[in-house]
């Protein structure tokens, strides 16, 4: 894992983002956390990155968001060149109990896994650590 992993949280719920930031900083003290309540702003930020080492290592993505849901986000995210995003592990972070959503997350080729809210230190510790560029 990078010394100071860059972590993006994309969720319209500011309370969840607060929880995620605190939990991530407890698990990875040197992490840099950016949270976005608007997925479109998050995409614009990602699309503006020009170097792979400036791309986040982790992205926690909610499913149910206004304007754009998690799946629509991923469809647009996939258009970012793979050379930039290949080191980023995306986790769907959701409160959904819909088996279809959970299954879709576990089998989506861009998604590394499904994490049920709330994000905790134990769940962070169990995350797959991607190979960094």
């Amino acid at each position: 894992m990078a010394e100071s992993p860059l972590v993006f949280i994309v969720d319209d719920d500011p309370i969840n983002n607060f929880i995620c930031e605190k939990m991530i900083l407890r698990a990875w003290q040197s992490a840099q956390v950016s949270s976005f309540t608007n997925p479109i702003q998050a995409l614009e930020k990602l699309q503006a990155v020009t170097a792979a080492d400036a791309f986040p290592s982790y992205l926690f993505l909610d499913i149910n968001m206004p304007e754009m849901d998690g799946w629509e986000f991923l469809a647009t995210y996939e258009q970012i060149p793979d050379t930039l995003r290949h080191g980023c592990a995306i986790y769907i972070l959701s409160s959904t109990i819909d088996p279809a959503d959970i299954d879709r997350a576990n089998h989506y080729h861009l998604v590394s896994g499904f994490v049920s809210k709330p994000l905790t230190e134990d769940k962070i510790a169990a995350l797959h650590i991607p190979d960094c560029a």
Binding site: I15, N16, I19, K22, R26, T37, T96, I97, K117, T120
Partner: protein, 435 residues
């Protein structure tokens, strides 16, 4: 004269003549062969066989008559409408009782008439086309208005060749009334659609529960975990967030209760609701934002009262009013106009605001789905319009929206005319309406 008698008499005459003249001819040709006993024997034979013939024909004719009476009964008393027409102009020759009931005419009014004179114009044209094609297929489906009833009918055709008892060929038409079957199929299709819609609603509702309840519950869980190791300054933040999440949970439970109650079609009596008083009550519930925003409100209740479930209509008023306040335009003072008008279909309630409006070309199909929001404002759970639509569906109210971005919105509710019910007459209003 009965056929058996004249057939046997004819045979007797011709047979006797033959015997007598044949014997005379034989006597001329061979006088020595002339014999009176021979002639008498021949005549006796003819008489015997004439009697036998009479008996056989009589029996056979009686059997034919019985068959004729039997088939006549089948025709006359058949529950299917039947009539016989002559070839060519299709002049009606014979009708049964069911046909008289179907066409609502007496036998004398139908017999002798041309078939084309009986059918109304649209059906007559359809029938003519069928006839010109030579009566193809198994028959002809058509509909007929009889008073307030629309009958669905199926007409079959059977050619009847000329035969004994019928001087010429004719056409037999049989009509089956499929109205009950069509109505039953329609009811079944409606029920199937309702079940499919309810199933889809149930799936959406499951998703709704997971989000509405689990989101605040998950937040509370996460905040409590953080609280244990939080600094003093962080703890206050956490407590504030716990406050918000518990309120979200409370609101979520209330909204779910509304939705569940509306979907079950609660057994409550319909009552006459004073619209002005109801709106004033909702304004009181929103007193705080009203005082802050000071919107301009115009009320025009040309129809002052409606018959419906008061609590549900209050929730609808509240949601629409609340949405108008929430999604006001920052560029102008909020203006809200609420009117009621009488129409042939019922009472039309309109909520018009001058707020942010909606992009119906983009969101039109999602407008009344749960957890859908249409503005980049992080506020609410996207359930207000879903709740309004659910309640309208259960109250038999037709809901429609007209809006454009930044042009405000007009929510229109068409309330059916319903009778006031006493408590013991209370029944759920669960008529499905389109949205």
């Amino acid at each position: 004269m009965k056929p058996a008698l004249w057939i046997s008499l004819l045979y007797l005459v011709f047979g006797s003549v033959w015997i007598i003249f044949s014997d005379q001819l034989l006597a001329l040709l061979a006088p020595e062969q002339r014999s009176l006993p021979q002639t008498l024997k021949g005549l006796f034979y003819v008489v015997l066989t004439a009697l036998l013939l009479w008996g056989l024909v009589n029996a056979f004719w009686r059997h034919i008559r019985q068959q004729e009476a039997y088939f006549r009964l089948l025709f006359a008393e058949n529950p299917l409408a039947m009539w016989v027409c002559e070839v060519g102009a299709l002049q009606i020759r014979d009708v049964n009782q069911a046909a008289c009931r179907l066409w609502q005419r007496s036998p004398t009014e139908l017999q002798g008439r041309l078939w084309s004179d009986i059918l109304p114009a649209p059906q007559a044209l359809l029938f003519q086309q069928w006839r010109d094609q030579g009566f193809p297929g198994e028959g002809l489906h058509f509909s007929l208005n009889q008073g307030e009833v629309l009958r669905h009918l199926f007409m079959a055709h059977q050619p009847m060749p000329q035969s004994l008892g019928r001087q010429q060929a004719s056409h037999l038409f049989i009509v089956q009334d499929l109205t009950e079957r069509v109505e039953a199929q329609r009811r079944q299709d409606t029920l199937t659609q309702e079940l499919l819609a309810q199933n889809a609603d149930l799936m959406a509702f499951t998703s709704l529960i997971s989000h509405l309840l689990r989101v605040p519950a998950a937040n509370i869980e996460g905040l409590l975990v953080l609280y244990g190791q939080a600094s003093e300054s962080e703890r206050q933040h956490i407590i504030d967030h716990l406050h918000t999440s518990s309120q979200d949970l409370e609101v979520a439970i209330q909204q779910l209760n509304h939705i569940v109650t509306a979907r079950q079609g609660v057994q409550m009596p319909l009552e006459q609701v004073d619209l002005a008083a109801l709106f004033a009550e909702v304004q009181g519930m929103l007193a705080e934002p009203m005082a802050a925003l000071r919107p301009s409100i115009q009320l025009d209740f040309q129809v002052p009262h409606v018959v419906t479930l008061r609590a549900s209509l209050r929730t609808i008023f509240y949601q629409l009013f609340s949405n108008a306040l929430r999604f006001r335009s920052p560029e102008r003072t909020l203006s809200l106009a609420v009117t009621s008008q009488s129409t042939p279909e019922g009472v039309r309630l309109s909520f018009r605001d001058n707020g942010l409006g909606l992009d119906l070309t983009r969101y039109g199909e999602q407008l009344f789905l749960p957890y859908k929001r249409f503005h980049p404002l992080n506020y609410g759970k996207g359930l207000g319009l879903y709740l309004v639509a659910s309640l309208c569906r259960c109250l038999g109210i037709q809901l429609s929206v007209d809006s454009q971005p930044d042009q405000g919105a007009v929510f229109s509710l068409l309330l059916p005319d319903l009778p006031i019910q006493s408590p013991h007459e209370a029944s759920p209003v669960t008529e499905k309406v389109s949205e």
